[in-house]
Amino acid sequence: MKKYIIQSIRLTLVLIILLCVIYPLSIALAGKLAKGNGGGEKITQNGKTVGYALLGQSFTKPQYFWGRPSAVGYNAAGSAGSNKGPSNPDYLKEVQSRIDTLIKYNPGLKKADIPAEMVTASGSGLDPNISEQGAAIQIARVASARHLNPQKVKELVALNTLKPFMGVFGPSSVNVLKLNLALDNL
């Protein structure tokens, strides 16, 4: 028994050096070659960081495309979903009020055209994407707030649409931050 205890202690120490020092440090070192030097890829505007490429952020003004509802208000230091169950009555009221808000700010929008992701909270609270349909229903609003030709905004949406992986795997999506940045840079 005593032998096992001593062997366990020594083996644990050796493995800590291998698994908790050598392994993560070498990956961190290799990560220096990745985008954002392994600290997360940043997006800049006029030399200032305005966000991370992978993290969604809150957009509420009419001249910006809106992202998905977030249970944590896009807090990138406290990610979480709503964890609301599908039959929860309070939750269903919240969904109804999101539908009403969308219809209020997007005149002419029909309920049946609203995609599910625009009225439901994401898993992380930081979802950077919406679907193509989620962007399409906002084009009229954004164009009128910015006094732009809707066709021009539509082209920007198309430019910022990410096709399925290798063209055939998974959904397509629109990165809201990149799209809004492109609008600002027009």
Binding site: Q7, G31, L55, A80, N83, L92
Partner: protein, 572 residues
Amino acid sequence: MNTELFGIIATFLLTLLIAIPLGKYLAKVFAGEKVWTDFLKPIESGIYKLSGINIKEQMNWRQHLKALLTINLLWLVYGFLVLIYQSKLPFNPDGNPDMTPDLAFNTIISFVANCNLQHYSGESGVSYLTQQFVLMFLQFVSAATGIAAAVVFFKAFRDKTTVQLGNFWEFFVRSITRLLLPLSIVIALILTFNGTPASYEGKDQFVSLQGDTVNVSRGPAAQFIAIKHLGTNGGGYFGANSAHPFENPNYLTNMVEMAAQTIIPLAMVIAFGCFIRRRKLAWTIFGIMTIGFFMLLIPSLTSELGGNPAIANMGISQSTGAMEGKEVRLGPAATAYWSTLTTVISTGSVNGMHDSTMPLTGLWQLLGMMINAFYGGCGVGILNYFIYLIIAVFISGLMVGRTPEFLGHKVEAREIKIAALVTLLSPFLILAGTALASYIFTNHGDAAWAVQPKNWLNNAGFHGFSEMLYEMTSSNANNGSGFEGLGDNNVFWNISTGIVIFLGRFLPIIGPVAIAGLLGAKKFIPESAGTLKTDTKTFALMTFAVILVLNALSYFPALALGPLAEYFTLIK
């Protein structure tokens, strides 16, 4: 929609493509045959030398279990101390506080047991030191513990009669050097180059396009996420687990993470067949596991892609499926696939919130964890399946009126008693635990705990009951996912699930290893016309029936009170 289905089909095929050769490789590694990774031998010799280990020393099954339990106990003590003093220790750039003793108790058992149930949130609850030197360390060694235990079990059936079952330390170290570490490096690199942070920089702050000030948690996450999946651990670096865009940046990483958590459990079944030179047996086991997996996957897919009926009633079309708690870049199909994988295999990582999935999806998730043997966790999956197999051998033996045998060894009263105890343990822990929680919720709602029992549930009614049932089931299965709406960071849940995780981990390891050790030591009886063949389709179906009947009898009432009841209220 179609591209989403192509995505999961491709992922499953990719998994098979890796897992089958990996299984053959593992059988050779543990049998000590020549493999291409033998160039790592000097490193292994160095580890043995520094640790004072002589791998030529043969152990019997009792010695194996002693070694396994000793080192696991040591990790419990070491980790507990770090967790309760982490704010005073270095590498804490975000200044996160110490854990309370009950939370530390829960967390350390959870990580030692390969469960990774998390009652803390990664961004605010742990330091970088804890993440790397305790949690990530345990993700490696707990997976290796499971694999080594499974190899001991393999050993018992390789030779006709034997008590010499190899050296525990050798199996354990080789699981790391030949399997977990090299593959983790590959996966961590893929993640890093797709955008997952890997550096040690602390929190960042920026002003968003619209003018809000935002804090961003970062840290060495890629290293952690690689082994979290490979070792079927599942504990997230960030609170939102693999739904977080840093943990799972795009569809490619999603495919990689889904494959990563599946390959070792699959490979272990193949390795079993090659190792004991009975490939047909392994393929029948593999077949049953796969059928079970698809029987849970397909209804989960249809219920998620169908969307939430209550939201459909509001006039929203949900053409892509139910989206609450899911991410646009991954889509509902990949989330349904992941939710099935992560519950049949004991990973417990999530790429979408299980609490918000449809009631029937929740039912399949629960059932996957209750059965816990359709592939199952790293190493322990096949041990769990073995218990069902022994029960099936016993029942078949009774039916034909012969002494049951398994691989040439008589299965007698002692082995059956152990198997029965292990089988009964799960329903006991899950149902008694849920009953106790429900009792406290209804009768002691005002107890002065960090979260008062009356405030435990994020969703009232049947769904609330499911939240409690899920927590206990996930703990017993060493799964670690949760219906995270549950207010679980308080003394009741921390202590109760801590105990359930501990018992649910170690008894189902001790049981099968003991049975295998006892059987292996018995006289070998050559096969004759009267032998019950365990590698036939008939016997495989028998095992499948045993699995279904045992679990249906144990859990149907509880499942009817939770997800089934919610389903019927939702479609009414």
